[in-house]
Subunit: 217 residues, 2 copies
DNA sequence: GCGCAGATTTCTGTATACAAGGCAAGGCAA
DNA sequence: TTGCCTTGCCTTGTATACAGAAATCTGCGC
């Protein structure tokens, strides 16, 4: 089964094959199709995707760099396991960085992008209770995208990408039920950013992560 | 020239060859022997180190993941360039995380590790003005190690590793002259941690990074 | 029946080979 | 002379091949 040649991001990364594999594997891990702890044997994957071992190998290394799989010397790759301690550690770091992100966004306070935020806020409050998972996912993505764009710190975005992947797979079970409250919190953060209140925006963002994780600060 | 078989970290990573290459290249980049922007052609490196292209390739990818080199599709790797904006972005993130690290360390407040800190503090103040670059580098390393160990957040340590590499190569010019003040600041942070004052420790740690970078918060 | 040692299998780590894309130099035409 | 096109080389992307380390299985001794 040759890989679906979906969207090719012309973006920042290299080879098509490896990149497609990264995306495909990431998908399978996030959806739970590949169970936590499951071994990822290079040759098995290589025939499953009809490519040689090399692209598979590189894809696995790339996923390992972002923390979704772990690679042990001479043992190969397996889907990363998440235990309680790790959840807390991830959340501590992510909450801190999301707070920074929100603070920066509120501080820059670019009027033209404020307009975009207000549109997003309107759209959000309208659809918040639709209950449609897809719509909410899109809104969620737009929210993070907009905030990151305003904060304008590429290093921060890059670091958070990896953290979001790892936390999202853990939030998955709760996220369905929490969706409405989730958007309420997003909206509150946006309002603080629009108002230009960095401290409030940061505080809300950090709290938002702890709430989503369901643990105490 | 086969690679010097120096210290092999039995630590977390995989294959010896690739790992040695990562270390060797990292060294050359940090020392400036490989100039910023210089292209890193796989085959050239592979014969320079007397290995095949594959380990070189993987080493380059690993370095790219930590931000020291950049890889462009179909163009290959080159040493990352650092411009002014990037410095500020790196510092913003690193300062925030070092603050978190210090806060956590102060909060955990493990009495047995406090003892270790006090020993370190004594050693530091004794050698702070020795002027010996090597001694100061060792102290610096011990400082970060101790703090990280107390903070006990592996995700945080992992993220900061990459940030430290990238900022350190930028701080290098200033770091020689600033060494004494540097240790003064380290000592102040340690005292706050020993005293168990998270807010102060965090504030000092963040300010410390901005000072080292020579930019305003 | 149980444990240990050797053989076998499996998988990774590394090397080599081939294909294809991008860049530059050189030639051709205007 | 200048601009464009062609051609060739350099370099990466991908595939295949081989060697060596773990893990597993098997048979023997106790």
């Amino acid at each position: 089964m040759p890989i679906a040649n979906g969207d090719k991001k012309p973006g920042l990364n290299h080879s098509p094959l490896t990149q497609q594999l990264v995306e495909a594997l990431r998908e399978k891990i996030m959806s739970g199709e590949l169970a936590s702890g499951e071994r990822l044997v290079e040759e098995r994957l290589s025939e499953e995707f009809s490519v040689s071992r090399m692209p598979v190998r590189e894809a696995l290394r790339q996923l390992a760099a972002s923390g979704l799989v772990i690679i042990e010397p001479r043992r190969g790759a397996s889907v990363a396991k998440f235990h309680g301690d790790l959840l807390r550690e991830l959340v501590e770091v992510r909450a801190t960085l999301e707070a920074l992100n929100a603070r920066l966004a509120a501080k820059r306070h670019d009027p033209e992008q404020i307009a975009a935020l207000e549109a997003l806020l309107a759209e959000g409050t309208k659809n918040a209770h639709s209950g449609d998972g897809d719509v909410l996912a899109v809104l969620n993505q737009k929210f993070h995208l907009a905030l990151g764009k305003i904060a304008a710190n590429s290093v921060l975005q890059e670091v958070m990408l990896s953290l979001r992947d790892r936390t999202e797979v853990l939030f998955a079970p709760r996220s369905q039920a929490r969706a409405p409250q989730n958007w309420e919190e997003h909206a509150a953060i946006l309002r603080a950013v629009i108002k230009g209140d960095p401290e409030l925006a940061g505080l809300l963002a950090a709290r938002h992560i702890y709430n989503a994780a369901g643990i105490e600060p």
